[in-house]
């Protein structure tokens, strides 16, 4: 039944859902739960938190869906906005993940892996690369991590991400640039000062 509703837009599904149409709710859930779940997972690094956040997001949609204002953004942005709020709240409460410093001076296990040789990725398998990138993302401060999760991994436009976060588009753009710079630095960390300083000047020249 839900499949027959797949041609409807999110707004139409939401309207039907709020009128008590369970199939519309399922269709909207099927369409959006993956993105919400992955965003929460990438932000928290915990499947349990991601599951809780996804649950909370759709419960909030049932309860407060009437507050959705199409003039302020899409349904997806609305859902991601709730997900972001819940995830950050949960992370604040649990504080189970501690950000590494942006300079990478206390890089810990991740940097130890990355400073092994001049080209640490040569022998990495795909899954190892994923693990390293995931760890590097998890080590980012939250405000950088969320733009990476939304734009680089969630395939959202800068405008959509700005709507979710509630900040100007320029802020998203600059945060993403800075986040990528930090990630590249973490991934390119090599022994000796030369390797770290040269890329910085290269970045500055851009």
């Amino acid at each position: 039944m839900a499949k027959t509703l797949s041609h409807l837009t999110d707004e139409e599904l939401l309207r039907l859902m709020l009128a008590g149409d369970g199939d519309a709710f399922e269709a909207l859930y099927d369409r959006r739960q993956g993105g919400v779940y992955r965003f929460a997972l990438r932000m928290s690094g915990s499947a349990e938190i991601a599951e809780d956040v996804t649950h909370d997001v759709f419960i909030a949609l049932m309860r407060d869906g009437r507050q959705f204002d199409p003039a302020r953004g899409s349904v997806a942005s609305y859902l991601f906005g709730i997900a972001r709020h819940r995830t950050l709240k949960r992370l604040q409460r649990e504080r189970s993940f501690v950000s590494m410093s942006e300079d990478g001076e206390d890089g810990g296990a991740l940097d130890e892996k990355l400073v092994a040789d001049a080209d640490p990725f040569a022998d990495l398998t795909r899954s190892e690369t994923i693990d390293l990138v995931r760890q590097a993302i998890m080590a980012l401060p939250e405000h950088y991590r969320e733009v990476v999760a939304l734009c680089s991994l969630g395939e959202m436009s800068y405008e959509q991400a700005a709507s979710v976060i509630g900040c100007p588009v320029g802020t998203v753009r600059s945060r993403l640039n800075r986040a990528r710079e930090i990630l590249v630095r973490k991934l390119s960390a090599v022994k000796g000062p030369t390797a770290n300083s040269a890329p910085n000047s290269a970045m500055a020249a851009r």
Binding site: G20, G22, V36, Y37, A50, R180
Partner: protein, 244 residues
């Protein structure tokens, strides 16, 4: 990036080891991000979550359709607003009446001094020289009481109705009933208590039984008016002296 610039950058990277490493890291990051985005293990919420949410949806939207019925809600809201507006209007009317009745009361006061009250009046009432009590005319007694005793009282926080000092010994009062058309009905920081007279239908409006004996009589009530001028709560007063 333009093709020429790109070509130049790549040539430089082939000569500069630091930039080559940086470029390599950029590529690895990009590949890692793509791989992470496509990663199956980063997939979707577990299936049981969908079942749980669907059950919650059915519970909310089928078992309790009233909360999502906007017209019904707005009707209730309108009723409460109407009742609150009526209370406020009555409060203002009583206040105005009290002001306009002051000269007459002075006359009554003089008359009363010429004919002092009988000794059966409770001592507490005698302590109030302005108060006029005529046992054979209960209706007049009530009006005079309302007029002579300024009913307003400032207070800083809503108090327990049972300990409220506004209540007198000869009165029986109900608990304060919040006017729930306001979400923060009980959160009034400061306000004024106004003694008003209401039609018996006001009792019905807040879910109390209306007096069956005299439907044309008025019911005394204390209305808590917040500093914003909105009525927050009401309690009903029955004067035992009148009852007797």
């Amino acid at each position: 990036m333009e093709a020429a610039k790109r070509e130049r950058a790549l040539r430089h990277a082939s000569e500069c080891s630091a930039c080559a490493l940086w470029l390599n890291a950029e590529r690895t990051l990009e590949a890692g991000l793509v791989a992470l985005a496509e990663s199956a293990e980063e997939g979707e919420a577990p299936p049981h979550l969908k079942l749980a949410l669907r059950a919650a949806f059915d519970l909310q939207f089928k078992a309790a359709p009233v909360p999502i019925s906007a017209p019904a809600r707005s009707r209730n809201l309108a009723r409460w607003r109407l009742a609150a507006a009526a209370l406020v209007l009555l409060a203002v009317a009583v206040a105005l009446l009290w002001r306009s009745a002051s000269p007459i009361l002075k006359k009554e006061d003089v008359t009363n001094r010429e004919n002092p009250a009988p000794s059966s009046i409770p001592a507490q009432r005698e302590q109030s020289p302005q108060r006029l009590i005529e046992p054979d005319k209960p209706e007049q007694k009530i009006d005079t009481y309302v007029a002579k005793k300024p009913p307003t009282k400032r207070y800083t926080r809503r108090r327990d109705a049972t300990s409220d000092e506004v209540a007198r010994n000869d009165e029986t009062v109900t608990d304060y009933i919040p006017l729930t058309y306001l979400a923060d009905a009980t959160a009034v920081e400061s306000g004024t208590v106004l003694r008003v007279e209401l039609p018996p239908s006001a009792l019905i409006a807040v879910g109390l039984p209306a007096p069956v004996e005299r439907t044309d009589s008025r019911v005394k009530a204390d209305v808590v008016i917040g500093d914003d001028g909105v009525a927050r709560a009401v309690r009903f007063v029955r004067q035992d002296s009148v009852r007797r």
